[in-house]
Symmetry: C2
């Protein structure tokens, strides 16, 4: 009955074969967890089994997985989670009163005062209200809690909105405009839902800026085969690390309005801003300040507890704000979410911790502020370190990491290496990434997983390894790169 | 920027309207959270605002939401969750050593020893191995951990398998055979994925038995328009509460094999067996004992931490076992799951608590066994109480609640009531359920949400209210029903 036995059964006996399953499953790609990462997992097992390698550990710089790279959880958040899970801890003197107060508010908002009950499909009302207060304060603009949906990380929210717009229009497939390079959740979901991806290039030479003529070009060229319905903007950028200026956001909003595109603002890295001249502006606040008709535009914004300074990827917390949607359409969105019952209460509690942290004068405040600052300061330091170090490598071109958690350097791969990649039937950047992995244990994701201009090669690395680890990683990387260049130049 | 303002914006200005969104979103229905439940929520708010009603609370008998109805969580599970969330509790003398041991095993299986890290898309390996051990012991048949996927409740697993088979075959829509009555997750997902539902009737006169001639009828009749690909069996039954005999399962397996249907065994209520002569047999164990070729059949089985004696609906834990699947197809399934990153670690920890509970001699054992027995004994008592009480009502026909958490009585609705329902443009059973809700506060789900034979009327109620509450509910129900019959006879 084991998998291995099943391999022997005649394929013709099977109900399912590659010929008769959902073709979108075959088409879709998700590079952040693709072949490089699978190989990294195998190497880890080989190391455990004592196989000799030129390194003693795999450094997973492929995914924005903060705690996996040694980031410590924020105490306040973990205490809030533990209190809602085990209510006997309300009697413990080790738990501060402000955390107990917040846990009590959440439990009072749960049916039967238990996080073991289903919540409303959009989430626990009191937490949705906390989110609305947080957004209103952030933006200086009103926010209605009924526009907030709590989601298990940002991904399910993004998927539910893309699923909502996936109807054919005038017999044409719906199109979703996404940046190149982009985060592969978008390409994977667009494939899964049989939509068309309409890529617009970010301008690498101007620090991955988002330029309106390029949006127009992409929009117009797509229209022969596609009905563009939605525009995805990732700010701060993933994998590119740029932070949009307010002026840029104004122009993007005007563009979306002109072409009646639903705006999806992926703003999960809004707390991760490092460059001194960069500032986060939410699409909502900018649209609000622009006044009519932009203020009345439909807009979906996504946020997560996996990034920022919490980095709680495994808990799966997040929310989306959906504004100005036609009420009948919004009812359909809500209905589609109810069939999945509700997102995990642990994730909802984490969202509460994100949007309603300890306030000045409360017992948890000092520790909370110190822990938060430590995480953000370290990230800032590493953003600079990664930028400076890579820029010193031969044939590397890197933009400043203004925000988010990644660098996306361009590498000039010599023709001999391109030929060697071709011989292995690999994209040159993937070839480079595999060579790096096998000789140093460093796992990055090649640029082809995110998209890049034809003939250019990149990779994405996170800035998440702890600073001492990161220095070791960059040293190893430097040695590898010098040898790679020597070998293939 | 609030929702209310958006109502005023001209609809033509909107990107999204009912005319251009995903039509499957409009089609889908999910009765367990449908209009009756929405009205119940409004009534709760009205009661809070002081509106006078003939009752002072809403009794939510519409959904299998154990903790919401006062069921207490299992201490062992909640301690395990709290320990993995706040590791300072390892120093607490209030936490038993066996729970600490289990928490340590889980944390050692997490990247960075934190539940805040992403897990493998299929879940934390050590917990998948615990699940495999649990299944092997339950079935007396081998189980490979690589066949186990941890999922956020059973629903995402079911949806991912249905999504896998949703390809058209020979130009015909794929069909999924589901019972009538059925759990609306299936009908909702089949709608969402643009598949065809092939309903087979359970035989109400023989305690909702699953009969092969009826499966054959449904299969054959569907084939003009549909290519049947999968067969869903819910055992113990939801909403019907029956438990399949071993002989019945043998016949179903043979039927699925004969017609090359992928078997989906929804076994989330496997611990909820009440009738003295009923016993749970897993589809896997039966197929294994039948030997070749049934032992090599593809089979997907689903389990959840939301039901059984844990009742942790909000945490979102579950798993699926996928056996004998063609390795290339399984790779596509895994790939499709990776794009959603991973299920919540809280849910994965809950699965660990389900499959690896305290063992005899360990410090938590006695309390765990006592708490588990208390929940299951109370459910058994209520299953009998509901059956006996409803059977005494005029015009009610109820089958024994052998298992699961529901009764699905048939009610004879008098012609005058049917006419009154018609005047309100309502199904007669929905009319009955709304009358019950408005006059007693009891929220049930009408049979039309699950499917029923034309011209028959039913409703589903849970057996979850605490026994004293349940008695009050049944008394109120009896009074209401007598008055309803008097009014409309």
């Amino acid at each position: 009955m084991s998998s291995s036995k099943s391999n022997n059964a005649a394929a013709s006996e099977k109900c399912l074969s590659l010929d008769n399953i959902n073709p979108q499953f075959i088409e879709l790609e998700y590079a952040v967890r693709g072949p490089l990462v699978i190989r990294a997992g195998q190497i880890e097992k080989e190391l455990q089994q004592g196989v000799k390698k030129p390194f003693d550990q795999v450094i997973r710089a492929n995914i924005g997985d903060c705690h996996a790279m040694g980031q410590k959880p924020i105490t306040f958040l973990r205490q809030l989670l533990a209190l809602t899970m085990d209510t006997t801890l309300f009697d413990s003197p080790d738990y501060p009163e402000d955390v107990k107060k917040r846990a009590r508010i959440i439990l009072d908002g749960c049916q039967g005062q238990s996080v073991g009950s289903y919540t409303d499909s959009a989430g626990i009302e009191v937490i949705r209200r906390q989110v609305a207060d947080f957004i209103a304060k952030r933006d200086g603009a009103p926010c209605n809690y009924e526009d907030i949906y709590l989601t298990g990380g940002a991904s399910p929210g993004i998927k539910s909105i893309l699923s909502l717009v996936r109807a054919k229009v005038n017999g044409k497939r719906p199109g979703v405009m996404v940046p190149i390079p982009q985060y592969p959740l978008y390409s994977a979901t667009i494939s899964e839902y049989a939509m068309n991806r309409v890529g617009y290039y970010l301008n690498e030479d101007k620090n991955w800026s988002l330029e309106i003529p390029e949006l127009e070009r992409a929009f117009n060229e797509s229209r022969k085969t596609t009905e563009p319905r939605a525009l995805v903007v990732i700010n701060p950028g993933n994998p590119t690390g740029q932070v949009l200026t307010r002026e840029n956001i104004v122009d993007v909003i005007k563009f979306a309005h002109k072409h009646k595109l639903l705006l999806l603002a992926d703003e999960v890295y809004q707390a991760n801003i490092y460059a001194p001249n960069s500032k986060f502006y939410s699409f909502k606040s900018v649209a609000y300040e622009m006044g009519s008709p932009y203020r009345e535009m439909e807009l979906c914004s996504f946020m997560s507890t996996s990034k920022g300074y919490l980095g709680e990827c495994g808990i799966r917390g997040g929310y989306m704000e959906v504004i100005n949607m036609c009420p009948q359409v919004k009812a359909m969105l809500t209905k589609s979410i109810t069939a999945s019952l509700c997102s995990t209460t642990a994730g909802q509690v984490a969202v509460s911790a994100l949007v309603y942290p300890p306030e000045k004068g409360e017992p948890s405040y000092e520790q909370y502020i110190a822990e938060k600052a430590a995480v953000l300061d370290a990230l800032k330091e590493r953003a600079e370190l990664v930028y400076k170090t890579f820029n010193s490598f031969e044939g590397f071109k890197v933009n400043v990491v203004q925000g988010a958690m990644y660098a996306f350097p361009q590498i000039i791969i010599p023709p001999k290496a391109i030929a060697a990649a071709k011989a292995k039937n690999m994209a040159p950047d993937t070839f480079y990434a595999f060579e790096l992995l096998e000789s140093t244990g460093i796992c990055i994701v090649s640029g082809s997983g995110f998209g890049q201009r034809e003939g250019t090669y990149h990779f994405r690395t996170t800035i998440l390894p702890q600073t001492d680890q990161l220095k070791i990683m960059l040293d190893k990387f430097q040695t590898f790169h010098a040898e790679f260049m020597k070998k293939y130049k």
